[in-house]
């Protein structure tokens, strides 16, 4: 995206006042968004962004700046200004750049730019119709379709460079159902790092019906119980529990800053035997997948927990250097305007052999939680929450009434040890995760799991 010679000149300008490391991150993005609400296409917008982030290190300090342009003068000037933030001298110099290879390869079939806007509109109209046809109780459907095509070029003073073209497609459906005074919502999304062949992976109209079904089923919800109960978490988005209860605490920046409950726990037992957990950015076309992370390191599969024993943290370049560990390809950033930090990609609990039906049967009185509204964690204490958006009571081994939305609250290290059973039906769900003011795409996954006891925040006395 920029010439080798200019790249080297910028990297060396960044180094010259004593930096230990320099990097250039170039990104071009083209976006399209379409939104349908009230059965009307009410928004159609497009965007174009191009820019370059410059980074250097001196000791433990990171200096960062970006430019909304690829003009040579602007880039060199920004590099000069940034390097003048430090005062020393360096003998480091980049002479040659070698391309980094990745084993993750994609074959995009339907590029967003090649899909006619009219056909995108038809997709949303079909989604709207399928949602509304599901039940007369549905009073509103909001659906949004967005796509992005981007190119990322990264080069650093170690002499490595990488280039990646990425395509993303995202469809979300929000449904509102109403019966007398009760209003309920249902949400489903489909998100792939691919073109519009994403719709071959999952049919948009089915997605619409699934969202409607949640809203309609929840219309009959009873008040959720309060207090500690056994909880069965359904497959796919149930994986948000691992993401919050453990994943964030394994991100090495929290470990490095003494702000993780999992510090000094490598090789130690932190979860029940049934738990094997993985972060894998190489799962083809998944929402958290990539060829290279945002520091140009190839994507990879990292086993985080094996049979309950902690194996690895989640690293970016800086934390891997600092903690003397191998990079895991998890240095990620929202855009060229942001400093990369360790982040999860696609994180999931592996399947075991229990049948999900028998897991539910094993519970006399408890909760079955199927869909979730996300969650939050304080990595330093391990205290986390996540919200149930589709849940049911379990009575005498059977799923009974739907329950109103409730938050589950617990402590990561304690809950991991209370995972009693792990099913055989691993599935995934896409989402967005916010940290350090940066929103990125990732997936969570798990089979059906059972937690022997967790606090559920209902309203029933």
């Amino acid at each position: 995206m920029i010439e080798d010679r200019l790249t080297k000149e910028i990297l060396n300008t960044l180094l010259k006042n004593g930096a230990d490391f320099s990097e250039i991150f170039v990104q071009r993005r083209v976006f399209n968004n379409l939104r349908l609400e009230d059965s009307k296409i009410e928004n159609s917008s497009s965007g174009y962004e191009l820019g370059c982030g410059l980074r250097l290190w001196v000791g433990d300090s990171t200096f960062y700046a970006y430019v909304d342009s690829l003009e040579k003068n602007k880039l060199l000037n920004a590099a000069k200004v940034l390097s003048s933030a430090i005062n020393g001298s360096s003998s480091l110099k980049v002479l040659n750049l070698t391309e980094t290879k990745s084993s993750y390869n994609t074959n995009i079939k339907k590029f967003p730019g090649k899909v006619h806007p009219g056909s995108k509109k038809n997709t949303l109209e079909a989604v709207d119709k399928s949602s509304r046809d599901f039940s007369p109780t549905i009073i509103q459907v909001t659906s949004a379709l967005s796509d992005a095509e981007e190119e990322i070029y990264i080069a650093n003073s170690y002499g490595a460079f990488s280039f990646e073209k990425m395509v993303k497609t995202f469809l979300a459906v929000n449904v509102v159902a109403r019966k007398r005074k009760d209003v309920r919502t249902g949400y489903k999304s489909l998100a792939r790092t691919s073109g519009y062949e994403a719709f071959d992976f999952k049919n948009p109209e089915n997605l619409a019906r699934e969202a409607s079904k949640i809203a309609v089923d929840m219309l009959d919800a009873v008040n959720a119980p309060s207090g500690e109960l056994p909880v069965v978490l359904g497959p796919a988005f149930g994986g948000v529990i691992f993401h919050e209860a453990c994943g964030h605490g394994l991100e090495a920046d929290a470990v490095m800053k003494n702000a993780s409950v999992f510090k000094d726990k490598i090789g130690k037992k932190i979860a029940s035997d049934a738990v094997t957990a993985v972060d894998d950015s190489t799962l083809k076309y998944r929402w958290g997948s990539y060829k290279f992370d945002d520091e140009g390191y190839p994507s990879s599969k990292t086993v985080l927990i094996k049979d309950g024993i902690l194996q690895s943290y989640i690293y970016d370049l800086r934390t891997s250097k600092k903690l003397g560990a191998k990079q895991t390809g998890n240095g990620r950033r929202q855009s060229f305007r942001h400093v990369p930090v360790p982040r999860m990609s696609n994180t999931y609990i592996e399947s075991r052999d229990e049948d999900s039906g028998s897991i539910i049967k094993s519970i006399n009185k408890g909760i079955y939680a199927r869909e979730f509204a996300g969650g939050q964690v304080d990595p330093a204490t391990g205290d986390f929450v996540f919200g149930i958006s589709e849940g049911y009571l379990i009575e005498n081994g059977k799923i009974s009434f739907p329950i109103k939305d409730a938050t589950l609250i617990g402590n990561g290290p304690e809950i991991l040890k209370r995972i009693e059973a792990v099913g055989n039906n691993l599935d995934f769900a896409p989402g967005f995760c916010g940290k350090s003011g940066q929103l990125i795409s990732n997936e969570v996954g798990q089979p059906t799991i059972k937690i022997d006891k967790i606090t559920i925040g209902g309203t029933r006395d």
Partner: protein, 466 residues
């Protein structure tokens, strides 16, 4: 280091960018158009153990173009402002019109549709010249001082895992084909600290922030004290039995919940049948005489501005008076639908998005009851100093609310022991009814607008624990 004099103020340049783009649009046959430009120059500093962890500079600009053709709207934006990119942006916006629904209400704001006629606030209050006197070094010193100060507040504080300072000079201009052309600029700064404390094997965290128009507005002493207090006061916290009790909400907690209520007060959410307040104008929502305002003109309000995201003059709107719902918040599109005037609540998150309806400075009016009086009014209750999981735990459409909470148990008006790992649950309308007393300690938080609330006494809410 960066010289303070090197701050680039774009000023009239933004208007020129708008005019140049307008000149280009004139070559297309379109009914109306609007050009929005915004730029920001930012600094962010993170300190860890007395050293700079990250220091970042940014200077960005973007332009967003709204085209109105045949009563349809198309939008496009670009952050690259060369001729070719702007031409391409216009072409995309024009072509995006072809796909959106035609609606009679789709046209630019006319002056007769403004509730407020006169600009009440401008650059003089929003942009502080003394902001420019602070160079990077002095800001780094400020952030380092907050780290040391917080650590020194209590011996149980073992780590400060995050001290972040950031500031920005924001400039924006709007030009439209109906004759509006204006701009304004603001300075803002923000500082945040998170303190980790330990005692007898238990770990606790507590954070706090300060914000203002210039670094001189930041009260480091207060930020450090609050963060330290919030951290150590929860040490040794335990889970309590599930029960119904009275709650005393810290202003930071009340303001977050008020932000959720605000989402349902936009005319957009009402017209789309996604609001709990649909059909409730003139109805008593609160059981006490609560007043809630959206005021875009408060001198030290961080969301104050002369005009909104589509160029409509900002003013002060009373949303709840004596507990009764008076009005929803409007932009011109939703106002036309309800045959009323815009309240100046068109909000643009950035040049990336079209104007939506949202709040500016949104606050619940304080009373004259002080905190200790509120506390003495509680026989058995829970003083909540922090909540977690607001976004996953509150559904503003269905109204269901269930969030994690930590704080201190109250017995006969006295603080007894710390409580954690519990939730509070109710629904939004019941919550409004359950508010029985309002304190005098109004505080704003800069999240999704600038939202302010005093401490609130809320009766009989379910707390789940053991």
């Amino acid at each position: 280091m960066q010289d303070s004099k090197s701050y680039m103020i774009r000023g009239e340049k933004l208007i020129k960018i708008c005019k140049d783009a307008a000149f280009r649009i004139n070559k297309y046959k379109v009914d109306e158009f609007e050009i929005f430009t915004a730029s920001s120059v930012e600094n962010e500093i993170e300190i860890f153990k007395g050293k700079i962890e990250t220091l970042s500079f940014s200077d960005s600009i973007g332009i967003g173009i709204r085209i109105f053709n045949d009563k349809s709207i198309g939008y496009a934006y670009t952050t690259v402002l060369d001729e070719a990119s702007i031409e391409d942006c216009i072409r995309k916006a024009v072509s995006n019109c072809k796909i959106t629904e035609r609606e009679d209400y789709n046209y630019l704001p006319r002056e007769e549709e403004f509730t407020f006629k006169q600009k009440l606030i401008g650059d003089k209050l929003l942009f502080r010249e003394d902001f420019l006197d602070y160079d990077i070094e002095s800001k780094v010193t400020l952030a380092k001082r907050l780290e040391t100060l917080t650590k020194s507040k209590d011996t149980r504080i073992v780590d400060i895992d995050n001290v972040t300072y950031n500031d920005s000079i924001y400039e924006t201009a709007i030009l439209n084909s109906a004759g509006f052309c204006d701009r304004y600029k603001t300075t803002t700064c923000f500082i945040y600290v998170n303190a980790i404390s330990k005692q007898n094997g238990d770990t606790s965290t507590g954070d706090f922030f300060g914000c203002g128009r210039t670094p001189a507005d930041l009260n480091l002493e207060e930020v450090a004290e609050k963060a330290a207090r919030r951290s150590v006061s929860i040490l040794g916290g335990r889970k309590i039995k599930s029960q119904r009790v009275d709650l005393l909400l810290d202003p930071v907690v009340s303001a977050q919940l008020l932000g959720i209520i605000a989402e349902s007060l936009t005319a957009d959410s009402v017209q789309k049948r996604k609001s709990l307040f649909e059909g409730k104008i003139g109805k008593k929502i609160f059981s006490i005489d609560v007043n809630i305002f959206d005021d875009g003109t408060i001198p030290d309000g961080l969301s104050s501005k002369p005009f909104d995201g589509e160029g409509v003059i900002k003013g002060k709107t009373c949303v709840f008076e004596d507990g009764y719902l008076k009005t929803y918040l409007y932009n011109t599109y939703t106002a036309r639908k309800d045959k009323t005037l815009s309240t100046g609540n068109a909000v643009r998150a950035s040049y990336r998005s079209t104007p939506e309806v949202g709040i500016s400075n949104f606050y619940l009016e304080p009373s004259d009851i002080d905190f200790s009086q509120l506390m003495s009014d509680i026989d058995r209750g829970f003083y909540i100093i922090d909540i977690i999981g607001l976004h996953s735990g509150v559904n503003s459409i269905s109204g269901q609310m269930s969030v994690g909470a930590k704080g201190i148990w109250i017995e006969k008006g006295n603080l007894e022991y710390p409580v954690k790992e519990v939730t509070i649950a109710t629904d939004i309308l019941s919550f409004c009814k359950s508010i029985k007393k309002v304190g005098n300690d109004l505080r704003f938080i800069p999240v999704g607008g600038y939202i302010g609330s005093p401490s609130l006494l809320v009766r009989d809410i379910m707390v789940s624990g053991k």
